[in-house]
Amino acid sequence: MDRQQEFVLRTIEERDVRFVRLWFSDVVGALKSVALAPAEVEGAFAEGLGFDGSSIEGLSRVFESDMLLKPDPSSFQILPWRGEEEPTARMFCDILTPDQEPAAGDPRFVLRRQLDAAASMGFTCYTHPEIEFYLLNSEELDDEGSPIPADRAGYFDHSTGSVAQDLRRHTVNMLEAVGISVEFSHNEVGPGQNEIDLRYADALTTADNIITFRTIVKEVALSHGKYATFMPKPFSEHPGSGMHTHFSLFEGDTNAFYAPNAEFNLSTTARQFIAGVLTHAPEFSAITNQFVNSYKRLWGGGEAPSHLSWGHNNRSALIRVPLYKPTKGGSARVEFRGIDSAANPYLAYAMVIGAGLKGIQEGYELQEHVTEDVWGLTTAERKALGLKPLPGTLHDAIRQMEDSELVAEVLGEQVYENFLRNKRQEWDEYRVNVSPFEINKYLGMI
């Protein structure tokens, strides 16, 4: 029993916790949860908790269904929304095989392994996500089959007394209560759209936090009689929900992306990192933009980046190098704007970091940065500038991922295979569906 584990057991006693939820995520990043009675926690620390992995998407091979959940005591938190009546806590879990080895199909393990790889190169990875989501009146749709936004506030509008205002404050309090620091929150451009920024932390913690965050936002919305969605593009006419993430690498206590005298203060390491991400972004789109709907965000305009480009404080580029005070070398970072709010954060971060590290290892050359508004360019102009597009559909993305050695390497063969299988199936389902768009357009046409 180590110090952390003991802390957990003591807190359970002191706070009279009635249930402990063990959290983990499946391949698509959906939260899975198993409840434990407090008396079972000690055993779970010692031996892990057995469960049937075959029921979880992409986790294990069908014939090898016995898996173990091993709670990570450092992630222990009391869940605030469960109230004081029956306090409930949660811990994230690593998934192990019956032989106590990390399960190759566990997304958390994928990220851990990638961070270990970074550590072996001498880097620690920090991330800072800005998560967008929509607040809806309810899960119900209107007469035309569209969701109904909870308010109509615009970007930075201070809509006094609005539901969203209350709700956001409540959410922020909750997040702080579970130890997730929130940096800034404001309305995004779409009606009912919100953005909350999580303060920067190491990549694994951030990924855990994102999972927690989504759950909290949904819980709080429900308690206010509203509904929150992280769907990448719920409205055709409004911008989608992205999860722009700032990445930085530290060597010890120095920011490896910072070079005082270079262009935009970008170190060679940073340039190679960006080059790596740009080079491989089409291959891992299926991870960072994992749903059919994700591509409607990417290609639906509204600040979503659809071409492989980077720029200094250019909001139309896939990678933006933000402005920061020159005195603050420690905050040098690059913002990858491709990920959407519905991505599995473990896999998405593992991929972006993996691609960046690849760029560093192989010393990729970085293409020219763009100063123009990429959306404003014509196709021919983009061609002239050499700006290649991201995949246009999930199908496209799957095809590119199938040919990618890097993705296989970062995810590991098993997750790679499971993920592809899952996505092919999704595409097949989508393809046979006749959408309202088609009915409207073609039914009366001929």
């Binding site: 180590d2 014939f63 095989t97 032989d99 190759a104 063969e413 098993q414 295979e417």
Partner: protein, 1010 residues
């Protein structure tokens, strides 16, 4: 001065020596006497120069050379010192006032030992501290600053080391004096730390009064704690503090940390006298991240709750060495019991195995042959064996809980865990190796564990490790040989000392061997990784009890074998299999001789028995095959001719008794299967050769059975038909695995003058009889046989068609009805038994068909469709396609179908594509420029890997399976069979999945393209 005398004294640079001897500083010293006492200087050239420089600074030293009898015997210690340690010579030159120590030390065969208390008094004196005070404080004032005190301390320490070196180098039995030297070095280090603490306390108290009240204890760890320190080494320590109750704990800790770090500052400063050594506190709780000092309570708390296995191992050697002895004693009282509880923790076996690996890891040390500490035969080797025994047995036996290695060896001897003979040898070797280390370090006062490379240094070392007064100066070779001898001896220890006594519960041992209790043996076996020590013990008993020659011999070899078993995937099963083998082999003289004389054979046997149930089962039934293990020659495939001759002879001998003859042929086949498996497991033959050997063995069996079937039928009904057996599929390509069945077709033709209908009828009988002879049980039963199953389902019309067809019927069928898949199947047809003439005619027909024009577009489509259907339908329900070696993604069938598709399309144009062996045709595709070399390489790698995994599963589990195992142990076994190191199962799994995925990519790219 005659040159001869200089040479005899050991001078190397004679002209230089001659001119130095004329130096004015040496005036008044008798030249002859001087040169004769140089004889004892390890390096006379160095000694002479240092002497001249020393006399210049300290003329009084001349007095050492002026004795009444005219000899220089009083100067011998000085010459030993100057010739053995440049560093200490320089120290005297730097501080001529310290040369009085030379007059205090008289040469003595049995040198004195300075007590710890004396050393402490002297060093405390150097910093003007009262050693008897509760918290000694250096007497600093405006004329004696903390810097001055530090310098005085370092000089005083070096003075004591010089004194020790003078004694050490004159001892009549240097190795005998070694423990005393190591003790004094540890005590001097402890006294230096204690005095440095007094300086640190004095300096800090001036500014921060609370520091005066802090009680600080320094716990020595490692060699300092065990009082077995080297001349120069980091000193490992841990700090404990206690403050008056009213002091704020944070403030107290802060003060204690300042005090503790003050110690390093004093010892590590170098103004006026260079730094001593590092005080290393990294073994403290939480290592570098933890606070430098903790309270006793905090230590207790830490070790109680959080400490991990290795931290307790470090505590094995802990001892209070400086500061408050009362607090130190309380610390020991609190911590010591935890150490031995720790040894019974979970994970103990893993720790032990990790230790084993660390010690014997084949670290590619560039300097391995000069290394005194690491690797086989080094100091670590002894220390590891000793500590392992302490850990294994110290849980129950308090007597062996001692700190230093030499005492531990003695205690293990007294406790009868090792024999008195081994005790003596271990102790002697340890002292000898340490003596080398001491002398080497002393030379420059540098931390090194390497034997010198230069001849000059080796010569000095050879002399330095000897007692003074030898008549002849030893040569560099002497010391190298002597060391080699020790290294050889040390590398035996682990086996004799750890493993041999495992036999002692029953075996009759000679008088000078130790007898362990059953519990002690159980402890050791569990530590080795036997999951069922009780059964293991039973097997060992059975193998070694009694006085038969076999038992005696097994007693001798088993200790070594137990070590080998422990390295295998399944030690328990290995030992059991060995017992069975040994029992069935009884007293066969060759068996015992082989195990005794061939350690290769014994090691191989252990490896096979722990890694292969297939081989151990077969060996149990055919124990005499173990004979092959001794010589590689007999493990190589015998070749078809030799086997067929053997079977023919058997047929002749047993003419008329067909059953008996066939049984012999089947025995030959089984024997060859085992031979091939062993050869492949030992890495003597490649996978390709193994496939060939297995195919030849099958062929011989088929030939034998066919001959018998023909004779039987000819006897009852006369001879009407001649039969040809044609191997198909992997048999056709001669690339089968252990226990593969045989795809075959039968062709017949009427013999001249026979009726066609009679011939047809007889052919069916022949074919049926043949398959029966090969697979039906025989009497007496062949134990452990995997009979050859003949599968004729690929014949025209499949199961509905006649078992054998006439040549004409084949022609007719192929002309009219043949499906494209049947043409594909013919690609691998290879005649293996029967009429040669029929074979020629049939193969002409087959070649015409299989290598004819490219298939039509429709036929190609057909093949692709069949392949797709096979993928989806033949794969067992629920199987993961990524892990199925045969039908899975990038598996055998992907590669083979792709190659066959190319053959169908291009073999009529490219003769290099005509063949039945997969890899050969694949190479043909590259040669014909039909497939890029890179793609071919990918396919080849996957095909070979899958084939290897398949045979690996069979060899490991004795059960055929086509799915990559997922249980870690099975996977580990297969992964080792495929050439991965132990513990690499996860990496192997990843490798497999990646390799096959790549193959699938290549397959998809080419298989569907027109």
């Amino acid at each position: 001065m005659p040159t001869r005398k200089l040479i005899a004294a050991g001078f190397q640079e004679l002209d230089r020596a001659k001119s130095f001897l004329q130096d004015p500083q040496l005036k008044g010293i008798d030249e002859d006497a001087l040169v004769s006492c140089m004889h004892d200087a390890p390096n006379p050239d160095q000694a002479l120069l240092l002497l001249i420089r020393l006399l210049e600074r300290a003329p009084s030293v001349t007095e050492l050379f002026t004795t009444e009898d005219g000899s220089c015997h009083r100067a011998v210690p000085l010459m030993r010192l100057l010739g053995g340690s440049q560093a200490l010579g320089e120290f005297l030159i730097r501080h001529p006032e310290q040369t009085d120590v030379l007059f205090q030390e008289q040469p003595a065969a049995e040198p004195a030992e300075t007590s710890a208390e004396e050393l402490r008094q002297r060093l405390m004196g150097a910093v003007v501290a009262d050693p008897s005070a509760a918290f000694p404080v250096a007497g600093l004032d405006e004329n004696f600053s903390a810097k001055d005190a530090g310098r005085a301390l370092r000089i005083a320490y070096r003075r004591e080391i010089t004194r020790l070196a003078l004694r050490d180098l004159t001892a009549a039995d240097p190795a005998g004096y070694l423990p005393a030297a190591a003790r004094q070095l540890a005590d001097a280090a402890a006294a230096a730390i204690d005095s440095a603490l007094a300086v640190s306390r004095a300096e800090l108290s001036e500014r921060r009064p609370e520091v005066a009240e802090i009680e600080l204890a320094v716990i020595g760890m490692g060699k300092c704690g065990a009082r077995e320190l080297n001349y120069i080494s980091d000193v490992d320590v841990v700090f404990v503090h206690r403050a008056p109750e009213e002091m704020d704990p944070a403030q107290a800790r802060e003060a204690a940390i300042s005090l503790a770090s003050g110690i390093s500052k004093v010892l590590g400063a170098s103004d006026g006298e260079s730094a001593l050594w590092e005080v290393d506190a990294n073994l403290r709780p939480e290592g570098k991240d933890g606070p430098l000092s903790r309270t006793l309570e905090s230590h207790r708390e830490y070790y109680h709750r959080w400490a991990s296995g290795w931290e307790f191992q470090a505590l094995l050697k802990a001892r209070p060495v400086a500061g408050s002895m009362a607090l130190g004693a309380e610390y020991m009282e609190a911590i010591e019991p935890l150490v031995w509880q720790a040894a019974s923790r979970e994970g103990f076996v893993e720790d032990v195995q990790a230790m084993r690996r660390r010690v014997f890891a084949n670290i590619p040390l560039r300097e391995a042959d000069r290394e005194l500490k690491l690797g086989r035969g080094g100091l670590r080797d002894i220390e590891f064996t000793v500590q392992l025994l302490q850990l294994v047995h110290g849980r129950v036996d308090e007597q062996i809980r001692v700190r230093d290695t030499l005492s531990a060896i003695e205690a293990l001897g007294t406790g009868e865990y090792i024999s008195s003979r081994d005790q003596e040898a271990m102790s002697r070797c340890y002292k000898q190796l340490r003596l080398y280390e001491h002398r080497i370090q002393m030379a420059d006062m540098r931390r090194t564990h390497l034997m010198p490379k230069k001849e000059e240094a080796l010569r000095a070392l050879a002399s330095a490790v000897q007692a003074p007064g030898a008549r002849r100066r030893p040569s560099p070779d002497d010391v190298l040989q002597q060391r080699q001898q020790v290294v050889r001896e040390v590398s035996q220890f682990h086996e004799t000392i750890f493993y041999r006594p495992l036999l002692s519960t029953t075996a009759v041992l000679s008088e000078d061997e130790v007898r362990l209790s059953a519990e002690a043996v159980g402890d050791r076996l569990a530590a080795l990784g036997f999951s069922d020590p009780r059964s293991a013990l039973r097997h060992i008993e059975a193998l070694t009890s009694g006085v038969s020659r076999k038992a005696t011999l097994q007693k001798r070899i088993l200790p070594m074998m137990l070590g080998w078993f422990a390295e295998g995937v399944d030690p328990d099963n290995g030992l059991l299999a060995f017992r069975r083998l040994s029992e069935s082999l009884g007293t066969s003289p060759w068996y015992l001789t082989m195990l005794r004389d061939s350690s290769v054979a014994a090691e191989r046997l252990c490896q096979l028995l722990t890694s292969s149930r297939f081989i151990s089962d077969m060996l149990e039934h055919r124990p005499e095959s173990a004979q092959w293990l001794g010589e590689d020659e007999s493990l190589l495939p015998r070749g078809f001719e030799a086997l067929w001759t053997e079977v023919q002879n058997a047929l002749q001998r047993h003419e008329g008794a067909g059953q008996t003859a066939v049984r012999l042929a089947r025995l030959v086949r089984q024997r060859e299967m085992l031979r091939t498996a062993i050869a492949e497991a030992c890495g003597l033959i490649t996978q390709h050769e193994a496939g060939l050997a297995l195919a030849e063995a099958d062929r011989v069996a088929v030939l034998g059975a066919l001959r018998v079937a023909e004779e039987e039928l000819a006897e009852t009904e006369g001879r009407h038909a001649e039969l040809l057996v044609v191997a198909m599929g992997r048999q056709g390509g001669r690339e089968i695995s252990y226990g593969s069945d045989m795809d075959a077709m039968f062709v017949h033709r009427a013999v001249p003058g026979a009726e066609k209908s009679a011939a047809d009828a007889q052919a069916q009988k022949l074919a049926l009889r043949l398959t029966q002879l090969l697979s039906k049980p025989v009497k007496p039963a062949i134990r452990g046989e995997i009979p050859l199953q003949v599968d004729a389902d690929l014949r025209p019309e499949g199961k509905r068609g006649p078992l054998s067809r006439s040549l004409e019927s084949f022609q007719e069928y192929y002309r009219r009805w043949m499906d494209i898949w049947e043409r594909q199947a013919l690609l691998r047809a290879r005649p293996i038994a029967g009429s040669d003439w029929l074979s020629v005619d049939f193969m002409e027909l087959v070649d015409d068909i299989r290598y004819s024009q490219a298939p039509t577009a429709q036929q190609l489509r057909e093949i692709r469709r069949i392949k797709a259907r096979v993928e989806s339908e033949r794969l067992p329900r629920g199987a993961d396609p990524a892990r199925h070696v045969k039908l899975g993604r990038g598996g055998l069938s992907d590669v083979e179908w792709l190659i066959q598709l190319f053959q169908l399309q291009y073999a009529h144009q490219h003769p290099e594509l005509r063949g039945t062996a997969t890899l050969q045709v694949l190479q043909g595709l590259v040669d014909a420029q039909l497939l890029p070399g890179e793609d071919a390489e990918t396919l080849k790698e996957a095909w070979q890997l899958c084939t290897r995994v398949r045979s690996g599963i069979m060899v490991w589990s004795a059960k055929p399976a086509d799915v990559l195992p997922s249980s870690r142990r099975d996977l580990e076994a297969v992964s080792r069979w495929c050439g991965f190191d132990s513990g690499q199962a996860a990496a192997f799994e990843e490798h497999y999945l990646r390799t096959t995925r790549h193959a699938r990519q290549v397959y998809e790219e080419h298989f569907y393209q027109d």
